[in-house]
Symmetry: C2
Subunit: 304 residues, 2 copies
């Protein structure tokens, strides 16, 4: 088995250096490198010579690298796509549980009111949770939800079976899930098909015991319809890591809505990203050395 | 199989009536009853004639019924002990997740600050969570924690293996868990042995990334030591459903401590209790009819 010669840069990063070695590689100067692990930046790359056959980018989304024109057809590119799924999924589970168990309300209290949470708490046990967009992130939520006694209805583009879900529906039936599920978690990409996917009708179908969680993109939800549904009690609550507009402006009604929890697009914080990136780097260096297919391969024709 | 004749009272309760029928019983007047399902109250019972062979009480703790002298040796008594475990366990999981993912802080924010949660978020994935007092409630947390990629170190009185825990320790080693575990969940009864179990030394051992969750009794934690540890950043945070003193007085430093989340002894809210009680009633009526051992048997000599 050859030992991959890998450059880590432009910034020194001990965790990524260690990851290269963990994957069976050795860390070398750029001039000697056959592979490059990009350790930071937003679109800038080290100068790549012809000997560099593979470049590992540090982010899951690579829009900025594509936009900068840095990606060429001369070598293999990998992103960190999927590497952060478990972290974002944990954040989504935390948001739904915090919502349904009244922890958002409790965190704002400054006095002991034993009855305050009595009427507003529900339980995930025995409930049906729809995960709209059961890709890597959505799928990573399933063991936690089933461990809490809920069952998962997955919605994917094509509707092929998703492990751990009791049923998987194709995206063309997504409008129906709001009436079937007790709670809905949005984890789908922002596309023309998902824009304003959740409006007044979907919220009415979700119902007064239902929670909506959005960790995808703000554009999936009609914010005005959501504000009205929360005010009226049409749904039990909403926990949002993404909003439209984003950032959510000061004074927006969602900041003071008792049924809402807002986190500032923080389900994938940098403190959790780096260890996960290091694991991905170690695995990809191992695969590179073994001649196996790399994780997170970039399709330049698709731009991701 | 005989059909148990069951009285539900003193209050009418459709959910409990339905549960009796679901368990294969029929609901009758008190005079014709061989079993009684107590539907409410705090220590008051219907007048029991000699034909009543079994009484199901509605609460898990039965101190008030024992204190009122209502429980006699003439028949079998069952409490709801264990029936609410899953609900309380879900609340504990919600508290730990909300803490470690910064949701308590986010819920208090009134402005979008993407960096605010960056340094404070951790993850349960790959962590070791000690459950101190792995009885029914503690054990019910294990599938959720393992589903989130954590492993559980259980502490029980005798240290017999607990399913799903990677290790179980006996209570005499409980002092060591704070150094071994990343996070600690207190779910043990309040006894002389557990009073002030968590003090300054245990919090120091837990460390600056560790969360403490208390859903047991406030007396297990030295509150002054906890306030100091939170202020100093000795631990990452504390999520408390029970406090000492309880109720926590207005103006107490825990109300405004950024690292703390306080819920008002609300992990077992009445809205969630009744459906779980109904399930217990249905199961016990079935067992009564089949001559099987009932769940939640009261030991009058022990008082629980």
């Amino acid at each position: 088995m050859p030992t991959p010669a890998v450059y880590v840069g432009p910034e020194d990063n001990p965790l990524l250096t260690e990851a290269v070695e963990r994957g069976g590689g050795k860390v070398v100067a750029l001039a000697e490198a056959e592979a490059v692990v990009v350790s930071g930046g937003h679109g800038e790359l080290p100068d790549l010579h012809d000997g560099v056959r593979w470049v590992q980018l540090p982010s899951a989304g690579i829009e900025s690298w594509v936009a900068s024109g840095a990606l060429d057809e001369d070598r293999t590119w990998t992103s960190a796509a999927g590497a952060y799924s478990t972290s974002v999924a944990e954040g989504a589970v935390a948001l739904l549980l915090a919502g349904i168990r009244g922890i958002g309300r409790a965190a704002r209290a400054r006095t002991w009111d034993g009855a305050a949470l009595d009427g507003v708490q529900g339980t995930l046990r025995g409930s049906t949770i729809a995960i709209v967009g059961a890709g890597g992130i959505g799928r990573a939520m399933i063991p936690a939800f089933t461990g809490l006694g809920a069952r998962v209805l997955a919605v994917t583009r094509r509707g092929l079976p998703v492990e751990g879900a009791y049923e998987t529906w194709a995206a063309d039936r997504v409008g129906e899930v709001f009436a079937v599920a007790d709670h809905v978690v949005l984890a789908a990409p922002a596309t023309a098909q998902t824009a304003a996917l959740v409006g007044a009708a979907e919220l009415a179908a979700l119902g007064s015991q239902g929670w909506l969680v959005n960790i995808a993109r703000g554009s999936l939800v009609d914010t005005d319809a959501l504000v009205e549904a929360l005010r009226a009690g049409t749904i039990a609550g909403a926990a949002l890591d993404v909003t439209d507009p984003e950032p959510l402006p000061d004074g927006h009604p969602l900041w003071t809505e008792p049924r809402a929890i807002v986190t500032p697009h923080s389900t994938n914080p940098s403190t959790l990203r780096l260890p996960l990136l290091a694991d991905r780097v170690a695995e990809n260096v191992r695969r590179f050395g073994a001649g196996e297919e790399l994780l997170g391969l970039v399709d330049l024709s698709q731009g991701y």
